[in-house]
């Protein structure tokens, strides 16, 4: 993918990338922020997924759970992407060559598609089952997929650390 390489080369040689590579504290600091935000993303989205599965928060309507939780999920996701992006540009070529990194991005994409499809199709008639403790099968499937995908995202993230040496 020569075009992609052309795109990332200036990022990787930027002053910011240099600083992250060379400063002993910067990388672990960014990494800690990344772990912290990922934990919030996964933990908070799990609350929504368990509600969709009918396993927790069943005394509240689905829409009330999502309305309460998703602002936190999205805020944490923005921080996770920003901190992940900073780690990425410090060693972009190596990351792109790492299978677990690529898999992690694809899995996050899959989690996004799962959510978008559920939003656009599965939840169209949400008002009809909003209060039900056990939502319809399509909602339970979306919740189940989400849990599996995010567990896989965390696993890939951890495996990146064992399959490439950076910092």
């Amino acid at each position: 993918m020569p075009r992609l390489a052309d795109l990332i080369a200036p990022l990787e040689s930027s002053g910011l990338a240099d600083a992250i590579r060379e400063n002993d504290l910067l990388f672990p600091l960014i990494e800690s922020v990344h772990v912290l935000s990922i934990c919030l993303v996964v933990g908070s989205i799990l609350v929504v997924d368990l509600r969709l599965l009918g396993l927790a928060s069943t005394n509240q309507p689905v829409s009330r759970v999502t309305r309460g939780i998703l602002p936190l999920t999205w805020s944490a996701f923005v921080v996770a992407v920003a901190s992940g992006g900073l780690m990425f540009i410090s060693n972009a070529t190596k990351y792109l060559g790492n299978g677990y990194f690529v898999a992690k991005l694809l899995l996050i994409g899959a989690a996004g598609v799962n959510m978008a499809v559920f939003h656009a199709v599965g939840a169209r008639d949400l008002p009809r089952w909003d209060n039900e403790s056990a939502p319809p099968l399509r909602a339970r499937l979306a919740g189940g997929f989400s849990i599996v995908l995010w567990i896989a995202v965390v696993a890939c993230g951890r495996w990146i650390g064992f399959t490439m040496q950076v910092g």
Binding site: P28, E31, S32, V35, L36, I38, C39, L40, V42, G43, S44, L46, V47, A56, S57, Q60, G68, I69, L72, I151, V154, A155, R158, W159, G161, F162
Partner: protein, 168 residues
């Protein structure tokens, strides 16, 4: 315990068959760390959600005791998962944690965070009138919630920092 005794203990632990198996089977440590992080995600998010509720940022239309009852009980069984995976990780590489100041800092912060969580759970179950408490009660609650957020963040930072401060 002196460093020498601790060092010997680490050496003994590292020589056990279980330690060797954890260390030399490639997928075991990343798998344990993955389970550990997922557990941290559950506990951390639960604590943060309740702390944000104390600050009336999250689900302010639902009474605090209800929010606490939804999120805090899960902390204790998941803590058990963290203790098991954490202990196995220490067994695999004893020196990485046991000879590392950051690890003891993490444990000290964990004690504070759990005390705060337990105290909140206890005060909500034993004093149903918590919400009607006056200004002093509210300030105490918010101070404890802020301390809880900072402590949990410190635990996560220290956890990641163990990898960067381990003894050679």
């Amino acid at each position: 315990m002196s460093d020498a005794v601790l060092g010997e203990f680490c050496q003994w632990l590292a020589a056990t068959p279980l330690s060797r198996a954890i260390r030399t089977t490639g997928w075991v440590i990343p798998a344990l760390q993955t389970i550990h992080i997922l557990g941290v995600a559950v506990i951390f998010s639960s604590a943060i959600l309740v702390d944000l509720r104390v600050w009336r940022i999250f689900q302010r239309d639902i009474p605090l005791p209800d929010v606490a009852r939804r999120f805090l009980p899960i902390v204790w069984p998941v803590l058990l998962v963290l203790l098991v995976t954490g202990s196995l990780l220490i067994m695999g590489e004893p020196r990485r944690s046991l000879l590392n100041t950051t690890f003891y800092l993490k444990m000290a912060l964990l004690a504070v965070a759990l005390a705060l969580t337990g105290a909140l759970q206890w005060s909500l179950s034993s004093a149903p009138a918590f919400r009607q408490g006056g200004r002093a009660r509210r300030i105490t609650g918010r101070t404890a919630a802020t301390l809880s957020i900072l402590t949990w963040c410190g635990i996560l930072f220290a956890g990641r920092w163990i990898a960067y401060t381990q003894a050679g």
